[in-house]
Symmetry: C2
Subunit: 328 residues, 2 copies
């Protein structure tokens, strides 16, 4: 019996597909029960976990390569908003019987690509069989100088409110995936659907957030509801000028066809943009740092005393049917 | 609209059930997107993830309190074997529709009890709905002095092989749960079934392992297969005296009824005991430290040059139908 024959099927899967992603020396080539990392002196380890499930957070027919990248990116987005630099991740993977070698190979390809793109290696994982759908749970680790993780609490009256990129694309893309027809161009449709399929986390903005922001979070459950959460924890109110909320050209085109989609854009999930508050004297420095990082940011409003997130369109406050997306 | 009304159902679940488990200041009371920990100077962070699935790793009807504790303990067991002290954990929880408030309350109770018992607080988590069974994925963090995590690689010829507690109870308990009748006493049946339901990780042994062991791992997929893995990574062979492998009184009683159950005990999974190798000059110190920690340990054999794990019964080598448990 050769050594290889003695490996269990699970060991072989791990060896074949995941070892190339485990480039950190502390991962021990996935040959051990656990991994370790040696934090740089004077740093904190930032901890985050988010899971995605086939048929719930992505379409079951989506390419496993994109599934892997989405699972990483929803977590990387949190590191960006907390001002943290990626250190690496653990992945826990539940696989139904029909997810065979081809699926795993595509999944591992996606992991490897994004581990390289975000300098975020695999530390270890667990693969189990499930009678249910695929579930990918990622635990993500980042690094910040001690005490420097940017919190949700910290927004104060007078601070400006910034958001990166554009809002609503992924929520509109999801509606398109479900069959909506809005007479968009093929490029517009493609843009929105791609933004749902694969988040573009703003890790390039992390240093600027840490340097300038008083509070920050990523927009994952919709701008309206997420800003309300930030306000609640900070003990403040937010006043937003809806006209200043950045929309993509495709997003604007969809809303032009059906104005009700503005609410979808503002309250839908999966943006994975950075929402942060910046003291007025730091606003120009934040803009400059964002520009240097090549991440567009928009000033959408101001923090005030009070409570709740209030959205105004030409002076009139908007009301929403629901504040944010929830699976519950 | 009160502040409470603005909380999503998911936020309420988290607030109600999981906040009491998030006692570490870095968890920020679960009010943020992420948590942080400040590693003590001169320490490494040990990282581990393991998931359990309803109907696969436990019976769907098991008390959610025990499910939570099992999910934590299978990970705590790895920390014990690596010589690490628990720091805390993240949990990712997929819930089917029929897991309601009662289930969650029991689950949170189990988390809280074991977080307290093992000084291992919750840092954060994610709850998602699934059309499949419950899945609990835990990412566990521990602390060791820099460079001191005990690896699987490190066993050398002449080192003694120790295992904690007793072997095979959980595997026999699983066969009982599936309906086997062996004419055991009610206490014997109860012992074996309890060992399957709820692992008893040997975290009390962690300091002794770190002080004395050249290599270590926890026995989770069966003694025979797990020892073979340790040998493969260390580049050595193991020679085991089967008569020295510690069995519980209930385990011995079952094997007396059906001698074929010896193989079940030696190759079945879910022991969650510590398997380690100790240089001969350290063996007495290891025994003493284990005794001080009130964890029974048994010397079951010796590392030799060569490859593979070899089990001898009265001088005759045993062969096994399978080396270890695998879900694949």
């Amino acid at each position: 019996m050769s050594e290889d024959d003695k490996l269990s099927a699970e060991d072989r899967l791990i060896a074949d597909y995941f070892k190339p992603v485990a480039t950190h020396p502390g991962a021990l080539g996935l040959t051990d029960d656990a991994a370790f990392l040696t934090p740089a002196p004077g740093t904190d380890v930032v901890l985050k976990t988010d899971a995605i499930i086939g048929g719930v957070h992505y379409f079951a027919e989506d390419d496993a390569r994109d599934v892997a990248r989405k699972a990483l990116r929803v977590n990387l987005s949190d590191l960006a908003a907390k001002g943290a630099t990626p250190l690496g991740f653990l992945v826990s993977l539940a696989l139904p019987e029909d997810a065979g070698a081809d699926w795993l190979a595509r999944f591992a390809l996606g992991l490897r690509e994004d581990a390289a793109a975000f300098a975020c290696p695999l530390f270890g994982g667990d693969t189990v069989r499930t009678p249910g759908p695929v579930m990918v749970s990622v635990a993500m680790f980042g690094s910040v100088p001690t005490g420097a993780m940017v919190r949700r609490a910290g927004a104060r009256p007078g601070h400006r409110i910034f958001v990166s990129g554009s809002i609503g694309d992924a929520a509109l893309g999801l509606v398109l995936r479900r069959g909506a027809i809005w007479n968009l161009t093929s490029a517009q449709r493609g843009h929105l659907i791609a933004r749902y399929l694969l988040p573009q986390p703003r890790n390039a903005l992390a240093d600027a957030v840490r340097a300038c922001a008083s509070a920050a979070m990523d927009v994952s459950d919709g701008l309206v509801g997420d800003l309300a959460k930030l306000c609640r924890v900070s003990g403040v109110a937010a006043k937003i000028d809806v006209a200043a909320v950045p929309l993509s050209e495709a997003g604007r085109a969809a809303i032009a066809v059906d104005p009700a989609l503005r609410e979808t854009a503002l309250t839908g999930g999966d943006d994975f943009e950075v929402l942060c508050t910046v003291p007025e004297p730091m606003a120009e420095a934040f803009r400059s740092a964002a520009q240097a990082a090549r991440v567009p940011v928009a000033d959408i409003g101001v923090i005030e005393a009070g409570e709740g997130a209030h959205f105004f369109d030409a002076g009139r406050e908007l009301t929403f049917k629901r504040l944010s997306f929830s699976h519950f």
